[in-house]
């Protein structure tokens, strides 16, 4: 059973996330993929994450597919106009990629080529619209395709946002444009995700809450200061500070969070973003008892 079927059936799903390498050496991502094979339902492949040059998400997704994992290809509007995005989606479908996560994309100014011109011809909602149109057998301008792709479309959401109503409005648009599942920015405070789920209760959406295993107290503080939508509560920072084995404590905190989400049926699944420490994801799953 694939990711879509499990989610639709109401199973608790687990997704992980991997970034293609900066270079052509895919050995690390392949090793991580092998460690997760059969243990996660799908793996997001980031699309020039943080506006940094790497191998593309299409290439990464194809390599995961060859390793026997189910990829969720992320695609942003930052680097491609509507012509390239539609073409990339068609190529993805032809290569067997079924899951697509549409994102607006970080601004080039935060990446390693800050001089680059951001495209933003389409935002996340528009990419979903385009993918839906392709699924109906037509390009965005109504020209017929020879063979239509079939995608399971997803989008992202930031549950910690002020004003939250503005995010809810955008979620509604994403649903209307074709999004079937949502993965959230990393959440550390169970109350934030509970409040959020209450707000989207009547929208009937599938939500995978984002989890980042912490590696240090410094990492938590850095994210609190610099990453919009992330708030690591003081008691968690405290635990990280006091811990001897920081990596293990970070994984323990993440495991406790995931177990609570699952036991209390707060969300439909979790999305683990290990950001560079993908080798720890299997350990985290062991700790969760998956």
């Amino acid at each position: 059973m694939n990711f879509k079927e499990k989610l639709e059936r109401g199973d608790f799903v687990i997704t992980a996330e991997m970034a293609p390498p900066k270079g052509i050496d895919f050995n690390h991502i392949k090793e991580c993929a092998r460690a997760l094979k059969g243990r996660v339902d799908a793996v997001n492949v980031t699309d020039f994450q943080s506006a940094v040059v790497r191998a593309s998400s299409l290439g990464g997704a194809k390599i995961l597919l060859d390793e026997g994992l189910e990829p969720i290809m992320q695609i942003t509007g930052r680097d491609r106009n509507r012509i390239a995005i539609q073409g990339e989606l068609l190529s993805a479908a032809a290569l067997g990629i079924q899951n697509v996560l549409a994102l607006t994309g970080d601004h080039p100014s935060i990446g390693d080529h800050p001089e680059a011109r951001g495209v933003f011809d389409m935002d996340s909602v528009n990419i979903l619209q385009a993918a839906t149109k392709l699924m109906n057998g037509y390009d965005m301008n109504g020209h017929e395709l020879s063979g239509a792709p079939q995608f399971f479309l997803g989008a992202s959401v930031t549950p910690l946002y002020d004003p939250l109503e503005l995010q809810i409005i955008k979620i509604k648009k994403k649903i209307q444009a074709g999004a079937k599942f949502f993965q959230t920015q990393a959440v550390f405070d169970i109350k934030i995700i509970k409040d959020f789920m209450k707000r989207v209760e009547n929208l009937n959406i599938k939500v995978l809450v984002g989890v980042i295993p912490l590696k240090s107290a410094g990492m938590a503080k850095y994210m609190n200061n610099n990453v919009p939508g992330i708030c690591v509560p003081d008691e968690i920072i405290d635990r990280m500070q006091k811990a001897q084995d920081k990596t293990k404590e970070g994984l323990t905190i993440a495991a406790e969070f995931i177990q609570q989400i699952r036991e209390e049926k707060i969300c439909d699944g979790v999305h683990v973003m290990a950001i560079g420490a993908e080798e720890n994801v299997a350990t985290l799953l062991d700790m969760c008892g998956f």
Partner: protein, 215 residues
């Protein structure tokens, strides 16, 4: 208003490296307001050029520098000074410099970098307000332009990158979408935001554009 900023003097001198006699033009409108091409700035420029060993044959504040007929008429009155000049230094916007270049035969060099269409909040403080996208969106955005004021020019609401109402690209800037939200909420028009905006028709901004209005 077209907002401009004077280039570093070194860059201007580089343009004029093998030119001795310079004629300076300014502009009565935007560049005067931006303090980059009014009478005072022309006088200052003249002084600096002379200190650098150049001869300034004359100067004029064009009224305005982007009006071809006016430019032609004004420069006619400066015929003698222009004939003595090896180059024109234009203290206007890029448009103004092109207009002057289309009227005179000698090389024309820009003294300013043209930055944006914007407003003067107070003297010396300018903010970008319009991208001239060719398809004004202000009618449904409570008078705040998302094309200009959102770093990503988003039309379907904010990205996740705002913190305390500020844009992650530049924390000095308010998130345009939070401004739009707050104003629409005040006006009880939030429902407007639920409508999906299709990707913008950028063919309307394909350059060079022209407009011919029948009389």
């Amino acid at each position: 208003m077209i907002i401009s900023k004077q280039k570093p003097f070194e860059e201007i001198l580089n343009f004029l490296e093998d030119k001795q006699n310079i004629f300076i033009t300014g502009c009565s409108l935007c560049a005067t307001s931006c303090m980059t091409g009014g009478k005072q700035q022309i006088d200052e420029m003249k002084e600096r050029l002379e200190q650098s060993g150049k001869t300034v044959t004359g100067s004029t504040v064009l009224d305005p520098s982007c009006h071809k007929l006016q430019v032609r008429a004004s420069l006619k009155k400066c015929k003698a000074e222009l004939e003595d000049a090896d180059a024109v230094l234009c203290m206007a916007c890029g448009d103004g410099a092109q207009t002057v270049a289309s009227v005179v035969k000698i090389p024309v060099y820009p003294a300013n970098d043209t930055l944006f269409i914007g407003e003067i909040e107070r003297i010396g403080q300018f903010y970008e307000a319009c991208k001239a996208c060719g398809q004004c969106e202000l009618g449904w955005t409570a008078g705040v332009c998302p094309i200009t004021k959102c770093a990503k020019s988003l039309l379907n609401g904010p990205c996740g990158g705002a913190k305390n109402g500020k844009c992650e690209v530049n924390v000095e800037n308010d998130c345009a979408w939070i401004l739009i939200y707050n104003k629409l909420k005040e006006q009880d028009l939030l429902d407007t935001l639920l409508e999906i905006k299709d990707p913008k028709d950028y063919s309307k901004a394909a350059n060079p554009r022209k407009l011919v209005v029948g009389r």
